[in-house]
Amino acid sequence: MARTELVSKAAKRKRAFWRTLMYIAIAAFFLWTTLPLLIMALSSIKELRDAFQIPEVGDWAGALKMIQFSPTFHHYTDLFTKEHFEHYILNSVIASGSASISAVSLGSLAAYGLARGKIPGEQHLSFWILSTRMAPVVAVMVPLYSIFTGLGLLEPSRWRNLLGLILAYTTFDLPFAVWFMRSFFEDIPVELEEAAKVDGCSNLKAFRKIILPLAMPGIVAALILCLIFSWNDFIFASIFGQQAAKTLPVATSELHSTVSIEWGGILASGTLLVVPMLFLGLLVKKYLVQGMTMGAVRQ
């Protein structure tokens, strides 16, 4: 008895050590990833001279000055009054929103078909779908450029350029959406569908009434992830968006010109870029967790 207690005490101490180490690592990672964002957000509501007040090394009291300032929102208002960022935000919303919705609607049907596995050569087909994501984006840029030119999507017109962007984003979101949602569909027992058919549903009705609601967490998570991908995209937008359909990241980069660097505007628009995605990120977490506990479907 005494011996097992000894052993368990040692084991406990060991576990506590590793646990502490783990927490330290997590804390360090947390600071590493969030501090830049925090500094960006804080600086975006400071006057530039406050923002550039960097304390000396070892001056801990000086560090406090980082949060002692009188907030101002003029960087934000400038973005809208001087730079017309409302257009760029709208472009970003339209391009990433439409692309995500079309990727997820097409992708959910494909994913469901693949998950039910009644297609000959289904394995190869899935792999091919995934393989389209293996090449780096720049590799497809030239062929896409030539295709889009042929389709007239690169003419200086806002809607044509936006359509081009939506097409490009959908192309890149679709394989991801298919693979991501496929596993959600696979987790739904086929008996549920069969039960629905026996109960009086057509194939489509069974999909709509039973499968879709059950796969909803996966679908929403896929939608949000696609949204984040396309919202954050710079390279497609800078090439296919042209001047007429500039998105938020492209517009932000243009605040840095040969004559001046609009630090205030960059910080503010950076914050505008990050904040909505942060909330979507939290949302996706909720849905992913829900999706994982969906295993409970397997009664």
Binding site: E194, A195, K197, V198, K209, Q299
Partner: protein, 371 residues
């Protein structure tokens, strides 16, 4: 309510033949059991009736309609699945109301409510109507699954091992409940199971399948007392029938079953039955298999008569009222069922005698039964 007819039905999955030339008819309002070991094709058969599997060859009729090309939703059937297949995102009420909402016939909300409550009352699940499936126990889920089937009045009920996941006590209870329910609803029911006890206790008629082939179709009594072959004889009954290889030889009118341990003479009645099944000894003695059910042995401590044969008790398993006794005779180990009062122990020498009016005889090559 309708009869279900299968005409020369085949099911092939690639090269594998799951159901081979199956012809059978489930009568109107009958409790019809498809019984067999796993992989015998019984579930495939049920799924073809439901329309969840394509029929490779042959035809299936529900009532007088050929349903080969009819979608499951248009077949007017209700099915209970082995895994219950309750919709996890719907409450018990919504699960049970679902077939009424999506089916061909339209019901008003008050009709739906009435039907669900009525079914819930029959199944004693009224208090769970607002819960979700994951908040229910296995037995409760199973009753919800049955409830979802009985809210409608389908032509046929199909049940795919609906109680095989319940614990033993609940299973025994549900056997009675299901049989009662079928009689009360007075509907045609096709029930798939691998458990011979379920089939024997509930069915009006049983179709026993093995390796995709229908072995025998008959009432539980026929299946038990007149098995057509060794498979059926061995599959039904617990413990299963004892099979003893022996030789059947004739010297004039005196026909005898012999083996290293015993000599059993056959009565004129049995000889007639043997001959009735084209049994022929004209070309000399014949290799046969004697089948005796565990309860059809007389077990004594002393040699009873000429045909008694000795054995040694290998083990005894008292089961309260009955006792299963394993007895070894040369080349064979037999299972016997006796009263627990019998005073025998491991290692005892006992004398056995088969009840001659209860024995079965099989052709050793074809495994077909003579009687």
């Amino acid at each position: 309510m309708a009869k279900v007819t299968l005409n020369h039905v085949w099911k092939r999955y690639g090269k594998i033949e799951a159901v081979i030339d199956l012809s059978a008819e489930c009568k109107d309002r009958e409790f019809f059991c498809l019984l067999g070991p796993s992989g015998c094709g019984k579930s495939s058969t049920l799924r073809m009736i439901a329309g969840l599997e394509e029929i490779s060859e042959g035809e299936i009729l529900i009532g007088d309609t050929v349903v080969n090309k009819v979608e499951p939703k248009d077949r007017d059937i209700a099915m209970v699945f082995e895994s219950y297949a309750l919709y996890p995102h719907k409450t018990v009420y919504a699960n049970m109301a679902f077939p009424l909402r999506v089916g061909k016939r339209s019901y008003t909300n008050s009709e739906i409510k009435d039907r669900v409550h009525k079914a819930a009352k029959i199944l004693e699940i009224s208090e769970f109507l607002d819960r979700y499936p994951k908040q229910l126990s296995g037995g409760q889920r199973q009753r919800v699954a049955i409830g979802r089937a009985i809210v409608r009045e389908p032509l046929v009920f199909l049940m795919d091992e609906p109680i095989s996941h319940l614990d033993a006590k609940l299973r025994t209870h549900m056997r009675g409940e299901l049989k009662h329910l079928q009689k009360v609803l007075n509907h045609t029911m096709i029930y798939v199971t691998h458990d011979q006890l379920e089939a024997m206790s509930m069915a009006d008629r049983i179709a026993i399948m093995n390796l995709g082939i229908l072995q025998q179709l008959g009432t539980p009594d026929e299946i038990f007392n007149q098995p057509v072959n060794q498979f059926v004889a061995g599959f039904v009954g617990d413990p299963p029938m004892n099979f003893i290889d022996c030789t059947l030889e004739a010297s004039g009118d005196n026909w005898q079953l012999t083996n290293d341990s015993f000599k059993i003479s056959m009565s004129p009645e049995l000889i007639a039955k043997f001959k009735g099944k084209n049994g022929d000894l004209s070309s000399g003695p014949m290799e046969v298999v004697l089948g005796v059910r565990p309860e059809n042995f007389i077990i004594t401590n002393e040699k009873g008569n000429e045909e008694s044969f000795p054995g040694e008790v290998y083990v005894t398993e008292p089961l309260g009222e009955d006792m299963i006794v394993d007895v070894t005779i040369p080349k064979n180990k037999l299972k016997l069922k006796t009263s627990v009062d019998l005073d025998i122990r491991m290692g005892d020498k006992v004398w056995l005698e088969a009840m001659k009016n209860k024995i079965h005889l099989f052709n050793r090559k074809t495994q077909q039964a003579y009687f």
